[in-house]
């Protein structure tokens, strides 16, 4: 299935939204406007975008500490996200969660997560719910190369396999877990090779090529929807920034960093759009302008919103 022009332009808009959101977060963090830890998705925009393109609101995702991109790609609202980053009461979590815990259960977003790998079994549970209810909804689990060394990875993949759950595991292999590079934390080159340990398909794609990501994910999602069980899709990519804002990333090889910056997924998509005559530079600039205005509005919304009040401390602990 060849992607249509409007689909690709949609990818561009989503990726641009993530990009603009994250660039703004860099700025705001440096300006001490964002408390806590902020892990950015800059450079990895093609992954969430390419994957979520095959999902609807009935489908579930579990996200990670580096979750802004997943949220935006799954339809999350940038104003509520931004307000949450600021710790404001108008944020997605009323300021109680912050960047690492944004969720929108209505949209099927079962949360960013501060515990590396924790989303893996949670996504299996969501996929089980889809199957139990005999719906054709699926779940998608995002996680990093580092997270693929956690026990949860093993248990969740095995469980999903034996129950043939409608689940797609997306490994965002950005080659590092904090300072620990992949060749030091595992001895296989492709995380996708781990799929064989469960007897499910595993593929590796260029995670900076949104079309490649889309195609691989679409196939895996279709498989899941049809009842053929889980798959593992590895997307090789690169995080542009330190692990969190404030990390100078001295452990990174500068040449590698530069080589990857040249593979900017947005620039590559932009080129394709223009080559295929799916969009003109002006149209793309328009998209960019629109997106930046949205982000600016989100920041204003966040800044102007009130902080939670002390009484909020003890609400939402239990459901009544």
């Amino acid at each position: 299935m060849e992607l249509k022009a409007d689909q690709l332009r949609g990818f561009y808009e989503t990726m641009m939204t993530i990009r603009a959101f994250e660039l703004k977060a860099v700025e705001l963090f440096a300006d001490n406007q964002l408390p806590g830890f902020v892990h950015l998705y800059l450079g990895e925009e093609a992954v969430a975008t390419g994957v979520c393109a095959s999902l609807t609101n009935k489908d579930y995702i579990t996200s990670t500490h580096r979750g802004h991109g997943h949220l935006i790609a799954k339809g999350g609202k940038v104003d509520l996200m931004m307000a949450e980053l600021f710790g404001k009461s108008t944020g997605y979590c009323k300021g109680k969660g912050g960047s690492m815990h944004i969720a929108d259960v209505e949209l099927g977003i079962l949360g960013a997560n501060g515990i590396v790998g924790a989303g893996q079994p949670i996504s299996a549970g969501a996929a089980f719910a889809c199957k139990y209810r005999k719906s054709d909804a699926v779940a998608v689990c995002f996680f990093g190369d580092g997270a693929s060394n956690r026990g949860t990875f093993h248990e969740a993949l095995n469980m999903a396999t034996i129950w043939k759950l409608p689940l797609v595991f997306i490994c965002e292999n950005n080659l590092y877990g904090i300072s620990n590079c992949q060749r030091d934390h595992m001895r296989v080159t492709d995380v996708a090779d781990r799929a064989a340990a469960y007897g499910i398909p595993g593929v590796t794609v260029d995670g900076n090529d949104v079309i490649a990501v889309y195609e691989a994910a679409a196939e895996a999602v279709a498989r899941a929807r049809k009842g053929d069980g889980p798959s593992l899709v590895e997307c090789k990519t690169w995080r542009w920034r330190g692990h969190f804002e404030g990390d100078p990333a001295v452990y990174k090889n500068q040449e590698e960093q530069e080589a990857w910056l040249k593979k900017d997924p947005l620039v590559r998509l932009e080129k394709k759009l223009i080559e295929r005559e799916y969009a003109t530079k002006t149209q793309l600039d328009e998209i960019k302008g629109k997106v930046e205005a949205q982000i600016a509005a989100a920041v204003r919304f966040a800044q102007e919103s009130p902080y939670p009040v002390p009484e909020d401390l003890l609400t939402d602990v239990y459901a009544e």
Partner: protein, 322 residues
């Protein structure tokens, strides 16, 4: 009313909830044809096809996936074969299940029950005999239930399944076979209501789970000796019926807390602290705790029986206050 065992009552409670709500299901290791390590789910797999599910030996996935299923609208009853295995999946319980709702600003519900047996007394040694409720009570966002009788087991199971929050439901291995009258059909005991298992006026013994029975036996013996003990079973530790404890103390002025878990850091400390804070003037004697000493649980029955709080130790503790 129907006489049944504690294990049957738990099963009856689960059966009723599964009939009542198609979203309720059970999973855990060997809960299907094997019926669970202690037979508690026996037969349910044939009564409820597709809803009683054997898992691999993957506790983090058992609990983690239950959290995901609950977040997605189902009502899992997840079994962990021994409470001692909870160390494997505490993250899923305390960082995920317990906190999701709060972290998400109240926009998620995690209606799940984590069923697990606790307790010593069968020579199962240090990794299969523990009582770990104190850990759970320290986790905001979950509730902790520890029934001591068949009727309570059934009524609290209904409440646990219907609760929209994660509930840790701890059944005691030594109680599975005890018999008692249990209301038939729909029977639900609200969480957070203590039960006076024996009325008394001279001393309040707070005990839960297996220890209720030891406390009752001790109370009978004490009665012979002229001391009339009240035995108060909180039944649920979170929420805790503090009012009932303070009320009993108004009458008795003396408090002995009995739990099977290790004394240091046990939930008895919490109860003592609440009383020392909110009811110090009700006390006319020190607060005594009778609990497991600070050691792993030994295998040899010769030693194990010295570790488990006994009738004799309860009696001695009570008498030391007079």
């Amino acid at each position: 009313m129907k006489e049944m065992s504690y294990a049957e009552a738990i099963r009856d409670g689960m059966r009723f909830e599964m009939q009542r709500d198609a979203n309720v299901f059970i999973w855990g290791e060997d809960v299907g044809i094997f019926g669970g390590c202690f037979g508690v789910t026996g037969g349910l797999v044939t009564e409820f096809p597709g809803r009683v599910i054997d898992t691999p030996i993957s506790e983090t996935a058992i609990v983690g996936a239950a959290v995901g299923a609950a977040a997605a609208g189902l009502r899992p009853i997840a079994e962990i074969m021994f409470v001692d295995f909870m160390g494997v999946c505490m993250d899923e319980l305390f960082n995920q299940a317990a906190k999701m709702r709060y972290m998400f600003g109240g926009k998620a519900k995690i209606p799940m029950v984590l069923r697990t047996p606790c307790g010593a007394g069968m020579g199962a040694a240090a990794q299969h005999s523990q009582s770990m409720e104190a850990w759970f009570t320290h986790i905001p966002g979950i509730k902790t239930v520890m029934p001591s009788t068949p009727a309570d087991a059934k009524g609290l199971m209904a409440a646990a399944v219907r609760d929209d929050n994660p509930v840790v439901y701890i059944e005691h291995k030594q109680l599975l076979g005890i018999k008692g009258d249990v209301p038939e059909g729909d029977y639900c005991i609200p969480l957070g209501k203590a039960d006076i298992k024996r009325d008394g006026s001279d001393v309040t013994i707070v005990a839960w789970s297996w220890m209720v029975h030891k406390a009752l036996a001790a109370a009978e013996e004490l009665a012979q000796q002229g001391i009339n003990a009240e035995v108060l079973d909180p039944r649920t530790l979170v929420p805790l019926d503090t009012a009932a404890i303070l009320k009993s103390l108004e009458k008795t002025g003396k408090l002995v807390i009995v739990h099977e878990a290790v004394k240091t850091g046990g939930f008895g400390g919490e109860i003592a602290a609440i009383v020392a804070e909110e009811g110090l003037d009700l006390l006319d004697a020190p607060i005594k705790r009778v609990a497991m000493p600070f050691a792993p649980i030994p295998f040899s029955p010769a030693l194990e029986k010295c570790a488990i709080p006994s009738e004799e130790k309860i009696i001695a503790a009570v008498k030391s206050l007079f």
